[in-house]
Assembly symmetry: C2
Amino acid sequence: MTSNGPIRIAATRGGAVESVHSVHAVVAGPNGDATHVFGDPDRVVFPRSSLKAIQALPLIESGAADHFVCSPAELALACASHEGEGFHTDTVTAWLDRIGLDPEALACGPQWPRRDVDYREMVLARQEPGRVHNNCSGKHTGMLATALHLGEAPAGYASRAHNVQKRVFEAVEALSGESLDDAPVGIDGCSAPNPALPIRSLAVAAARFAEASPERLGHARADACRRLLNAMVAAPEMVGGTDRFDTDLIRVYSGRVMSKTGAEGFYMLYLPERRLGIALKAEDGTPRASTAAVWSVLERLGLLDGQAENALRHHCRPEIRNCDGLVTGEIVDIS
Amino acid sequence: MTSNGPIRIAATRGGAVESVHSVHAVVAGPNGDATHVFGDPDRVVFPRSSLKAIQALPLIESGAADHFVCSPAELALACASHEGEGFHTDTVTAWLDRIGLDPEALACGPQWPRRDVDYREMVLARQEPGRVHNNCSGKHTGMLATALHLGEAPAGYASRAHNVQKRVFEAVEALSGESLDDAPVGIDGCSAPNPALPIRSLAVAAARFAEASPERLGHARADACRRLLNAMVAAPEMVGGTDRFDTDLIRVYSGRVMSKTGAEGFYMLYLPERRLGIALKAEDGTPRASTAAVWSVLERLGLLDGQAENALRHHCRPEIRNCDGLVTGEIVDIS
């Protein structure tokens, strides 16, 4: 195992360092062994939206995805932090309609679309955002579909005590190998419960998800992992959206590497070919640092080829420009 | 002198720490003595927009402010990072008109107003933002007024080589006691040059500005400092805008404490009554941390009374709410 200090990402200005971020990262295999450690592997962190692929497992394991004939786009949306673009909200709305629910059934609150062009279009149309625009609306539709299929009352499905969340927590425990009995549990941006775990355990969970081994996980869960990974590769635009990092990364690696961002500077990455998982957290919660650190880790794993560099550079090593378009600095790794 | 580690500001979730920021801070007097140090006082940082009050000194010292009969609101705008609200842009536009220049003369690029309500109003009116909307347009108008009054060509006034910037750099050197000959110089968000200095020297500069002593600075400079401080107290809404931290702080302290934010998590504070200056920098550049740390420093100086707490709590110790309005965490000092 290679152990290092945290990855240090800097924003520069005029050639000098202006601000510095520390990022803790672990690369691990499915047996629980870390292959690379940067910083503190035992730091307890909230995976936030990085947890979505695991949160979507019960949708498939319960039979709900088959019962409701979910498309790959819908399964990808269940794992997504989408931008609220038209093709996202249309797909979620149609899915909700098919399971017989109104957008008001979603526990995730209203949220403006992320992209300025979509936001402005809504302002001009004098529309207010709905729950379906929330970046988590696909995840929530998947949770509701699961509850309906299993004959559970959908009301209160975002509560920790509801069976929907109990199944999610069981899946997190099984994949991470951690008991969540005493884990801190936060309320996520979308109102679903979100447990905090050591970074190392989240990397292991990602590795086991990526490996999708029936011997390790059982056939049903292994199959569910594989179907979700395949869905994200089939419909990467649903995982994030136009010019979003996760979408661009999944596309350029064609399924060899997949990433899912979480709020407050968190990432989980799935490397099925190498049977590895990565979890990383910017100590200060800043996305520019965590996104830059994904590049740093992939580079150290020898996975950053020219094509990936071209697709991801503007996300991970961007120039910093001011209001007049002048380049004033850049984002760099100063580890 | 009290010396401590950096101020540590955390964002919590579900009662657990989710992200942590380190903030370096120095409280200093006009003689160059630091009274309180948190973290690294020698860290070289870009003051960014915190420098604006110093950048506005030549406007008064040159006689331009008197020649153009600048109002306190205009002088406050010269020191401001305003939100581009109507009363800001109207005042800047009228000032530009009075000195015979078009908004296109401003070197600061176009920028949308900061507040959603103003942004939406422009979208609905199918307007694009102009240079006058840039949060620095008051500073730039002051620079242009100075050049015009002194018979200098306004073109290129944002270049380091122009007399406008030479005067600014001389004022920074005089107040901070630092030579800028070898200092890193960055291009600011508004395209003006911005030198990097040790935090301690910026605190000393703020103390000397706040003290405004004719013996120390000479009559012209001391008078200019006092007029700018008075202008900010007379028109705090011009320094920031509606519900902006600097505006609320200047208002609640009625001139006893004044703050000016800078991008990438920087602050300078002026305490005329105590003849002290404060400079602080969030290591990672995050404003939620630097704003929280201002509260921490004022508290340790015994300056945080109940009235100030009421006015500033939502800026410095805010609850964190999600899209559905649920409280998910808070910003706290865990030093």
